[in-house]
Symmetry: D3
């Protein structure tokens, strides 16, 4: 599936008291990046509601002045849900700093009644993409 990218410069307003990226800000941006990927894949931003974050894990802190991007890809399509995997990458080093999985549901835009989206995943283009899909599946099958 297509990967979307959302880039941020880390400024003092984004920091915690350790002077690196505040997790609350990082997760807010991740949810927005995941929404964008789901909405652009789905084609309709008004018929999509947030349902759940399954993971947002930090591997390594992000420093002020760094430029980071969230790379977001739909990795699971249920009948009325879409799950997105988002990776937080530091642009200058290429390092993975954080990783998340978020699920949205597709609804009628006024009543918010669940509605099938009809989307199917295409073929995974890499073992990595397949691994993300397998991981997403496990959040649902437990």
């Amino acid at each position: 599936m297509k990967t979307y990218r959302s880039t941020h410069l880390i400024k003092p307003e984004d920091l915690n008291h350790h002077q690196n990226l505040y997790a609350g800000r990082g997760i807010e941006w991740m949810v927005e990046a995941a929404f964008v990927a789901a909405a652009l894949t789905h084609g309709d931003s008004s018929g999509l509601l947030y349902r759940n974050t399954h993971q947002f894990s930090f591997n390594k802190s992000v420093e002020p002045g760094e430029i980071v991007s969230y790379y977001s890809t739909v990795v699971r399509a249920g009948r009325t849900s879409l799950t997105v995997r988002a990776a937080l990458i530091a642009e200058q080093s290429g390092e993975l700093r954080a990783e998340g999985y978020v699920t949205f549901v597709t609804v009628k835009s006024h009543t918010h009644e669940l509605v099938a989206h009809g989307l199917e995943l295409d073929e995974a283009v890499s073992q990595e993409e397949q691994a993300w899909r397998d991981k997403a599946e496990r959040f649902f099958t437990g």
Copy 2:
């Protein structure tokens, strides 16, 4: 374990384009509320780092003008980690609107080297608290 409470009035700056609480804002607040519970239980806010959100699921939307609280409780104590369960409750109706689980690790404040915190959970005071602990455990044992 002691439950901490963090309260917010929902204002226009907190909304999404459906005119209810934006999930990105809701999850940012949840991370902060969970941090507060972990830090006050641990006794040291400088020796605590965010590691992972295992869940942040919305059950029902939150409207502008509503007053909501995050009720946060430590529900798992690993050797160098603390997991917090946070419930987002609408104060006037008492309804549960969202629920989350977040893990922090305990570190030396300057080097960020992992360090055992020595905390143990007390006895659960209710079946509900035990259920939260069991659920948190399953995020670690898969």
Copy 3:
């Protein structure tokens, strides 16, 4: 009367150029905490309008990384007004850092016409609570 609590972690975005909690942010949070106490005591957040802050005094500065709570209690009930006392407490030391008094008026939610709220204060549970009530009274009697 019941005391409500609203907790914040102090982050860089909350600071002034002395690198401690900016008074403008501290007073914004105090007004929100006082509103929450008035609305939950009154039972209706849409029929309450801000009228006046009588005091918001800082005793000692608040540092980044500190966790602080506003403890807010209704301390005066006029015919169409409610006055709240809010204390800003540093959670780890227990110190009082700031103290404020705010008055709201009760109105019909669409016309904003003043309307009697019918609330009466219960008996003060401590000399401290009585002292807050006496202080609030003096803002009105001069």
Copy 4:
């Protein structure tokens, strides 16, 4: 004394759930405007600490799209304190919407030890300015 002016356009991010200017935002701006007046009158922004808000009363609500200014004037000079009166005026109608009084103390910039500022008020240029001074005085003499 010289009056300073600080102007804002009211945008959706500044509103409460009644869709007019949120009091928390209005009072944050008032504290900043009062600080500016005190610092520019005193000549040193690093030697000035917030001490207390004596009043911030709203007379009439402010609507989105309105342009408002805070007009701030030093109205009392204690030995180590300066009190500022700030008026919130709607620019297009000229109406007074809110009014506040804030006191700052003058300190040594590193130790925060109180230090006399040596400022004296000039002669009031109007009965109005004298009335503000008299009012400020009453916050101190009770």
Copy 5:
């Protein structure tokens, strides 16, 4: 034409990773200050739409704790447009730190159809004001 003034205290939330005023914040404030000048000169904030920034150049950085004002003046009146010059001045030193030119168009408030505003510039009160007008003119005649 009348000059309007909008003042800000530089706080940590306004900084870039070099710890001085972030250009993105500085230019956002400039656009707001220019809008205020255009709207108050025009007399109607609902019939004015942003069209273009022709310049926003920084000469020298702004430090935390500094107090700065935007001084904004209408310097060009097309048939359906108003161009504003805004200067960012550090209040304590009087230095010019940045300078900008912004054009707004006048419209019917509901349809956003262009409408002649009927305003004409008065006589320039100084060579400086004339120089701003000449400069603005060159953005249009290119």
Copy 6:
């Protein structure tokens, strides 16, 4: 040259009083997107200072709920400067909503002394890219 992309969901906190994207927010994001393109092209975010915005013109308003991206490309390389062209595109319609040109200078990171960056533009890959370069050139040659 490589084009960088930065994506945003339009939320109520980003709106003006006409309920569409506030120009001040749009231009703040444009400056950040342009900085990201310049820094990633240059390879060093600490040696780059904002100098000037030559244009940020809105063609058509942006509505809440829309997803927009800034597409940013270095289009001019002076000896110690880089100029970026940024286009604001609505993702679902593909429409160009706004366009900007911003110049940064390259400096030694501690002294902020101008330093040659040694970058040269590659061959333009399209007539469109060449047109952006020609336009940028005209901001310098008048």
